[in-house]
Amino acid sequence: MSGAWRLPRGGRVDRARPLRFSFDGKAYTGLTGDTLAAALLANGVHLVARSFKYHRPRGILAAGCEEPNALVQLDRGGGREDPNLRATQVELFDGLVATSQNRWPSLSFDLAATADRLAPLLPAGFYYKTFMWPAGWWRRVYEPRIRAAAGLGRSPSRPDPDRYLHRHAHCDVLVVGAGPAGLMAAAAAVMSGARVILADEQAEPGGALLAEPGLRLDGMDGAAWLAAALGELTAQPNLTLLPRTTAFAWHDHTYLGLLERVTDHLAEPPPHLPRQRLWRVRARQVVLATGAIERPLVFPDNDRPGIMLASAARTYLNRYGVRVGARVAVFTNNDSAYATALDLAAAGVTIAAIVDCRADPGGELVQRARAVGLPVRPGAVVTGTQGRLRINQAFVAPLDGGGRSSPVVCDALLVSGGWNPTLHLHSQARGRLRFDEKLWAYVPAELVPGEQVAGACAGSFALADALREGAQAGVAAAAAAGYRAELPALPAVEAPSWSEPAPLWRVPLGRGRAWVDLQNDVTAKDLELALREGFRSIEHVKRYTTTGMGTDQGKTANVNALAIVAAGLGQGVEAVGHTTFRPPYTPVTFGAFAGASRELQLDPLRRTPSHAHAEALGAVFEDVGQWRRARYFPQPGEDMQAAVGRECRAARQGVGLFDASTLGKIDLQGADAAELLNRVYTNAWAKLTVGRCRYGLMLRDDGMVLDDGVTARLGPDRFHMTTTTGGAARVLAWLEEWLQCEWPQLRVFCTSVTEQWAAIGVCGPKARDVIRAAGTDIDLSREAFPHMSFRDGSVAGLPARVFRISFTGEIAFEINVPSGYGGALWEALWQAGQPFGITPYGTEAMHVLRAEKGYIIVGQETDGTVTPLDLGMDWMISKAKPDFIGKRGMARPDLARADRKQLVGLLTRDPTVVLEEGAQLVEDPAQSLPMRMIGHVTSAYHSANLGRSIALGLVQGGRERIGQTLWVPMPAQPAIAVEVTRPVFLDPENRRLNG
């Protein structure tokens, strides 16, 4: 048996397929088709949670996503833990393991419930007025304790092993909600030939039809009509049906996010399926058929386990075959709760009373209830309840206050305060709402572009209206998307009618706390407190009291809260306004948002042509933007300093091998290529000879350094520009922007060839020996191949362009081959270099070697606020060119100040001390705080070639300070003394380069 409260027949569950599950360690049985909430209720379990703040015992309020109380923790094994799931939306599977949250040691005995007795000290916003004294206690006492007590579920402690995918989708019409309105909309749109996506958050489409037994459509009962309609729809190739899929976000230009729960309902998900899929849908038109959510009533002690929404009880009965109680009371301000009472009575549940606040309720359902002898008590309200872990009594009194309250024994109290159209997506789309004083609910004020609404979410609660509006919306949407659509035949409907609700935002009688937001434990008194304390805007009241700020977004709280605030301010509900709905409509896992972007795929991992070879040589890698580059090549027993020291010595005394492929390369062709270079670089380019290279410095138009690199002239109208690694894409974008937007008349084309060429550098006194040993037809001699030139030919049997350029200050050749052969080139040079002691070096040694020469690295010595003059590079600035990007910018007074930071070298008094990059410099280390900082360290290394540490920095008026001693204060140690020097430490005349 699947629970003592399960009816032997009825519902859409499968009694032939029972499921085992556990809750708080206790084993239960449920049925296939159950939600966890339904299965718990079938077993008579109502106490499922402790409330957030006061740890009050709580039960299941609802049957859908609006559930505020029944949040559970699910453990699917293997590290798959999910906190804060609504038991009403967890599909039961065999072996499901769920636990309640926020209670210790157990649900029925929770020590933290003392908070409930301290409630008068803990009203809304109490934390703004407490925990301030003494100051030291905040970090040591208050915060750790509050942190431990706060929150509901437990965060997962292990990496998420599930996979998630995204799906970009396009459609003409997206229909949200597959209830009667949505089904008709989809049918109308799909028949027109439009591409239609129909999404529903439930496992089964059908919406309200799933819980209404008494309907007849075209003479069939609701279930049969539904099956037939679905059969027809899903046969259409231009329809995509997405069950278990919540549309949780409406973004600009009808772009919606949908979350599909692919395998959450499976005990053993097939490994080839993703757990969830995030649909990123661009629709032309959207039809909202999202239904409505019932409101609870606000009265003292309205939060006990067993107090449920009337429609939820009906759903549990009709959909899951579950009785929520044996002796049930109903409290309502409208007709819909009578349908619940009638269905329960027909299933053998005793109806203890139907308490209706309306003095003279007379609708069709009320008459039927009276006709079967159900006890209707008009003009009455519930003023309180009793029962700590389960309701056992409700107190009923006349609404007009003219009478005492009398107890009604019950084990469930079903409440209905009316219905709220579900308009979150409409509101996210910036759609405005209008408060309707016949429905006593918010309805759409006007539609946003691309939107249609139909059915209960538009305020039309009658089935016939929902069907008709759905069909009309489908036609309108298809037509707006450019299709010829016809209204389909509407089914003939037999369904009871409703009369209007009476507004009852808060029962004015009784004593005790009346709960408005169950999830965040906000009472009516809290709302009044906010008003007393002077808050007027609903935005402030919401945030001060935290109403509607829980994971349920206040689905069962917001409108009641607005109305109570309106009453408190003496205004109409509409005048108070409402806060803005934000995505997601219901919580979405991080995994779904991440999709495939995790671990290795978090960001593209770009590897160089020599990567595998570097790995084989034991390289330690570092990430430079998206590139993974070899940082150093330690030999056994070497730490980084030892390895880098050896690599630096080899590069200057023997021969080093370096992969420079990541630097940007841009091909420029056209009659105005040289003119473009003149405009983007600070120096002059027109006269560069074919076959020669020149260093270029690129500025932004505000005069700040943007990038640098060596550019070679391949022909009269053709250049090969190089950039920094990080600047490759940026510089190409820069050139394109200027050419397309500012200088469209210049005839030059730019094409990225960064990845067309692998670039392997060979540097040091034995560089020529190695290249010759590898085999080349290029004359490498000093006379035939001067520094800053290039030659085409072959190296190691590969077609090559060899540049004689150097970033180390040694003789160096950068051999460019088509990138598919980069690995082969590296290998050939490595082999050929063995007799010469060839030493691969990485980015760390490269940094040290160039710093020894005082060569800047853009992004290290510069940060977007540094000019060429700051760097001491006025020799790079052409005096003759009338204009180049940055020339006018540099003339601004602020860029010519004498006290600007200037590039200098820094030598520590103690040569073994390596400064920290970013450390600040001061004149007087003994000054009081805050110290006057006059500069910072941009690069710092131990230099094996010099046998001591070196550093570069930017210091105010640096060039005037050469020879001075400055200080680098550091935490927890004495300040470090440094001498300011010129920013070059080795071979200042560049003799080594010209060998």
């Binding site: 230009h253 661009r282 138009d701 937007c741 500012e742």
Partner: protein
């Protein structure tokens, strides 16, 4: 996720583009521009509430720059037009010029 109509490629998702800020900013003649002119060109922007004219770059598409008119309060695009072209005449009323 805006839907942006590239004049060559047609409507595409916003992630294929990069916004280039305010459109129709003429680079002053560097020889004659005052510091205030240059500052305005470099740093000062209208940031209109309402219809704004801006540049977009189809970086992950055809890599062309173009202009667009967008209402910053509603995200509605009113026009797309090629780089170098003036705003369409139909916009003048909305731009208040």
């Amino acid at each position: 996720m805006l839907l942006i109509t590239c004049p060559w490629c047609g409507p595409r998702a916003e992630i294929e583009f990069r916004c280039g800020g305010e459109a129709h900013i003429a680079r002053p003649d560097p020889a004659t521009a005052s510091d205030a002119d240059w500052e305005r060109y470099l740093f000062l922007r209208e940031n209109a509430k309402g219809v704004t004219l801006e540049r977009w770059w189809h970086v992950h598409g055809c890599r062309r720059w173009f202009n667009a008119a967008r209402d910053t309060t509603t995200e509605e695009f009113l026009a797309f037009y090629r780089m170098g072209e003036p705003p369409p005449a139909t916009l003048r009323a909305r731009l208040g010029r």
